[in-house]
Subunit: 225 residues, 2 copies
DNA sequence: CATTTTTTAGGGTATATACCCTAGAACTGC
DNA sequence: GCAGTTCTAGGGTATATACCCTAAAAAATG
């Protein structure tokens, strides 16, 4: 039952940090959102920083799982959409860790130091998928254009939520905002895909929208196996 | 001398808010950065919110000027690069106003309400420039692809700085980060430009890099004429 | 059933920070 | 030269917030 409380606190914290930004969330808000007393919050987490570190551990486990994904030459598009789903889920679930470094930086310089590496690996992954698509004859692109396309893809996927928020549009969980970003990113290269590849990718992304993004629990469990 | 002090405070505040985020900047820091006593800060601005409103006024004047820019059929590419320079300068100079709504929102719900409109107009402007390029035979694109290209352009221009920061790369003023974003955004559509148009645009952007982005003072002065 | 763990309510401390106040010096303008 | 404005140093208040503490109830465990 105590383990359940700890997980409840972590989940409530993650949602509040994402919605209100790390620095704007007080410990009183955290306790209230978790449905516990503030004293109990301190019982489970000695400091706000300890709580952040618990979320960071989950994030790094999720992230380590994503790092194992590779293009499948037998099903390049399917593996790409799998990767998209995981990445998009991560960007949604752990959004504040990417966004609020200026706020939590003093609490977690270790994570702050690790994020650049994570971004770098994401770029390399996208480049790998686009090369695989090219090698499979699905994508008409020059090799030297791939790094820029990868940067653009990361920018669109990562910042669609921030853009919607700045634009006063719906971007909360459940609003379809992340799927919108996935669809938006397609506009970066769909005109370079073969017609069949484009249709298949759109179908797979449609299925992703129906089945929901890979949730973090599935991946964390996978990572721990 | 008092007007000079007020401007000095505004400029120091703007830079600190951009660098450290609105919520992380204390009034003691502001006074120190402006080279004045804290009491003097309160002499010039009754509240932190008053200071934010002064910066917001400058931002809205700058922004009103940008809103007057239109594609010039006689020089579509030149007018486009002019517009890029102004927009990029604005995104650099007033970055925290776009980014830190969650922090200053309680202080300036008026600006928070206005930003969506500003983003909308930016999108429409880019669409207008791309239609003008198409009409001039410079850009090979379908009409229905223009809105998505505009969104992608805004995402790349607006978030390159955030991406560099999250990636641990240089993004401070003077680092060339904004010009990097301008170059990056070219990769979204340069392959659709005629060779001549691409060469001309790259030359104009090169000149922009050499001459520096339009600074906010020039535009505010223009706006006040 | 005894022990341990979890939880609560409510009072509290320490520190941070926005902002205030004052006497008087320095500066500006007429 | 005087009145008004700007500015300083340093002391201060009010509020916010992270975190502490405690007695005791409730729940879990062995």
């Amino acid at each position: 039952m105590a383990a359940g409380t700890r997980e409840k606190i972590i989940e409530a914290a993650r949602q509040l940090f994402n919605r209100l930004h790390y620095g704007n969330v007080t410990t009183a808000m955290l306790a209230e959102a978790a449905g516990i007393s503030e004293g109990n919050l301190w019982y489970h987490f000695k400091t706000k920083r300890d709580l952040l570190e618990a979320i960071t551990e989950d994030f790094l486990a999720f992230n380590a799982e994503r790092m194992t994904y590779r293009p499948d030459p037998g099903d390049v598009l399917g593996s790409y959409v799998d990767y998209l789903g995981v990445l998009a889920g991560e960007l949604r679930t752990y959004r504040f860790l990417y966004r609020d470094q200026a706020d939590y930086g003093a609490h977690s310089d270790a994570l702050q130091a690790k994020l650049p590496y994570i971004h770098e690996i994401s770029l390399e992954s996208f480049s790998a998928y686009f090369r695989a698509m090219k090698d499979a004859g699905l994508l008409d692109i020059e090799d030297e254009e791939i790094p820029d396309l990868s940067v653009n893809v990361v920018l669109v996927l990562r910042y669609t939520l921030e853009y919607l928020r700045e634009s006063g549009k719906a971007e909360t969980e459940g609003s379809g905002a992340v799927m919108g970003g996935i669809r938006q990113h397609l506009t970066l290269f769909s005109h370079r895909l073969t017609s069949a590849a484009k249709a298949e990718l759109e179908a797979r992304i449609g299925a992703l929208a129906r089945d929901g993004l890979k949730n973090r629990d599935a991946c964390v469990i996978n990572a721990r196996k």
